[in-house]
């Protein structure tokens, strides 16, 4: 087994990986940019190395600096987390060339599944159904031809894409040309490639993915599905296991699981990976893409199966065979995860970095938090807005929803804006409770609901607290219990200058 592992990442996932490493008695090495010197992952690691300025292109995306840090600290292996270099085949190959184990699949598997179009071809060859589309970079004329044959709406996507960048839904042909141009220029900015391909857009699709796990001896199992239909800007915000749809149609888990395993096998896959599917309203599923790394939302699979995916990743990378068979994988109860983002859901999900002035986390039965934040920390504006993942487990979906509501009411992150209140609103929604999820759910949600109005009593209590605080803070003795006449008191002057712009 490894003695020491470097985590080529930051934020909550670096912390998550370190926790398991510590349980396994393996030393952890953090890397950090200028912006992250006091971040949790650096404070938590056994060893840490500075790798450059704040922009990720000069730090977390620098293979050379990460490998230098690995050599300097004498590590045996590198865990890439998700994002950054995790799906970069050259990075995986460079690790192996440097004599370090890359905790993930082979560089060759990443190549076969890394680009969306290559993955589609691999999946099709393995017999997995795919959304009708063109599997290579196309011109505008080819996109128009596709629309005429298959009809609208269509979806333009970046060949090198991910995270919704370079993606455009097009409802009708007159909009195609400008959408094509915008998608290409956005893709060029985000990925350095303006190649675009096209698919038929499936309306009210659900996003359901299968977690797979394979060892280096040819054993491959699936760990069931996660439903990730709740998205904003094509990024997931809430995930659950089991999927409410699969709960109603249990045969889907096996069918999608087998399709995922066929695709993974075709890529010679080992370690942890996720095969994403779109599911249409007739419950037909289509291969979407494969993520060749640990997924953000892996905790819900861990809660439902009782497995530690990071431990399994490390053991597999060290050459161990899978310690169980497909038949031994069992699912229990229901797990739901919320991604707590530093953003304002009621202002178009605009990011909201800044200083966390106070933090109170939920505790108690069935709660799991994977986070990296602490009171007093300044959330950097250079990186992703993910602050923490709050996951709950309970015996049923209904109980998990109630538990999540309870946990969210205990969660207080002050100083910045977060989507905590928005999740409470979603969890109360009848459509959500009925499990009628789809990828446009949040867009439609805003058509059905105004921002939440707190109960009147809460407003009264907040007003009272604010008034008492103002009086106390400005030298008046009211709060200490010694009333003083209001006339001409100095706090009014102070209050004015403090509170008014």
């Amino acid at each position: 087994m490894f003695r020491k592992v470097l985590i080529a990442n930051r934020g909550e996932i670096a912390v998550r990986v370190m926790r398991t490493l510590r349980e396994m008695g393996i030393g952890s090495v953090a890397v950090f940019s200028d912006a992250d010197r006091t971040s949790r992952h650096v404070r938590m690691a056994d060893e840490a190395e500075h790798i450059g300025p704040s922009p990720s292109a000069e730090s977390y995306l620098r293979t050379d600096r990460i490998l230098d840090a690995a050599r300097k600290h004498g590590v045996d292996a590198i865990h890439p987390g998700y994002g950054f270099l995790s799906e970069n085949a050259e990075f995986a190959a460079a690790c192996e060339d440097a004599g370090l184990v890359f905790i993930g699949p082979s560089a060759e598997s990443i190549r076969m599944m890394g680009s969306k179009t290559a993955a589609r071809r691999t999946a099709m060859a393995a017999g997995a159904p795919v959304v009708p589309g063109i599997d290579h970079a196309i011109t505008f004329e080819e996109a128009r031809e596709f629309g005429r044959i298959h009809g609208y709406p269509v979806l333009l996507k970046a060949v090198a894409g991910g995270g919704g960048k370079g993606m455009r839904a097009v409802e009708r042909e007159p909009d195609l040309e400008s959408a094509f141009r915008n998608a290409a220029s956005e893709a060029l900015r985000a990925f350095g490639s303006d190649e675009i391909y096209v698919e038929r857009l499936i309306l009210k699709a659900r996003h359901i993915e299968i977690q797979i796990l394979g060892d280096r001896h040819g054993n491959l199992v699936h760990l069931g599905e996660r439903e990730c239909s709740l998205q904003r800007r094509h990024q997931k915000v809430m995930e659950e296991c089991p999927s409410p749809l699969v709960q109603q149609h249990p045969e889907m888990r096996h069918e999608m699981g087998q399709a995922a395993l066929r695709a993974a096998r075709a890529a010679g896959y080992y370690n942890a990976g996720t095969v994403e599917f779109l599911v249409d309203q007739e419950r037909r599923f289509y291969f979407l893409e494969m993520n060749t790394r640990l997924q953000v939302e892996h905790p819900i699979t861990e809660l439902a199966t009782g497995l530690d995916l990071v431990r399994l990743q490390v053991e597999i990378a060290a050459g161990a065979p899978l310690p169980f068979t497909q038949e031994q994988v069992a699912w229990r109860g229901s797990a739901i995860e919320c991604r707590i983002y530093a953003e304002d859901p009621y202002s178009n999900f605009l990011p909201f970095p800044g200083k966390i002035t106070r933090l109170t986390r939920p505790l108690g039965p069935g709660i799991r938090i994977d986070g990296c934040i602490y009171g007093g920390w300044v959330v950097p504006m250079e990186y992703d807005p993910l602050l923490a993942k709050l996951a709950v487990w309970a015996g049923s979906r209904e109980a998990a929803i109630e538990r999540l509501l309870r946990a969210l009411s205990e969660y207080d992150v002050s100083g910045i804006r977060t989507n905590i209140g928005f999740f409470r609103q979603i969890l109360e929604d009848a459509e959500f409770r009925a499990g009628r999820l789809h990828t446009a759910f949040i867009d439609e949600f805003f058509e059905r609901h105004a921002p939440p109005q707190p109960p009147g009593d809460l407003t009264a209590v907040a007003a009272l607290a604010a008034a008492l605080h103002t009086l106390a803070r400005n030298g008046d003795r009211l709060v200490e219990g010694e009333p003083r006449p209001a006339a001409g008191s100095q706090w009014l002057q102070a209050g004015r200058s403090e509170f008014l712009r």
Binding site: T357, L464, A466, E482, P483
Partner: protein
């Protein structure tokens, strides 16, 4: 002791009739209420009202107070109603509109110059945070009167980027 409160943009008044801990107060014209109030930790107000228990966390920010209560956040500005006009702060003079950054971030581009005539919806500046660029647009047509926005500068939420009139 009467205070005018702006709570999440809505105007309220509160009259503290008896101070804490055995507090009596009146919110607007609604009936008088009683509450037992303690401060177990600095900035934390434990309120017992109508048999219910509330923990309100009060935080001071440059723009006023933020009260967190059962997961809700209340942005509250307090002032003396007798001595201050009710006109909300920051609305500027007649016909002058301030354009503020809706989020904390970095000004990556300034798209206009002081003195420029701008159309409604025209981009004024691009603010970036957390890998997302947001173009801030003019709410209406006019002339750029002032332009505090500087490329490369860090701005807070609500910080003025430009005024037009």
């Amino acid at each position: 002791m009467k205070l005018a409160l702006t709570i999440n943009g809505d105007e309220h008044t509160i009259d503290i009739l008896t101070p804490a801990p055995a507090c009596r107060f009146q919110l607007g014209d609604s009936p008088e209420r009683s509450a037992q109030v303690e401060t177990p930790e600095p900035g934390v107000y434990s309120v017992l009202m109508d048999g219910r228990s509330y923990d309100a966390y009060v935080e001071e920010t440059p723009n006023g107070l933020v009260v967190s209560l059962q997961g809700y956040h209340f942005e509250i500005a307090a002032r003396d109603p007798r001595r201050w006009s009710r006109k909300p702060a920051g609305s500027g003079g007649e016909g002058v509109r301030t354009i503020a950054s809706p989020m904390p971030g970095k000004v990556v581009r300034v798209l206009v110059a002081a003195g420029d005539a701008v159309e409604a919806g025209q981009g004024i500046a691009v603010v970036e945070a957390m890998k997302m660029q947001n173009e801030i647009k003019a709410p209406r047509a006019g002339k750029v009167l002032s332009l505090p926005a500087r490329e490369g500068a860090t701005v807070a939420a609500g910080e003025v980027l430009a005024t037009i009139g």
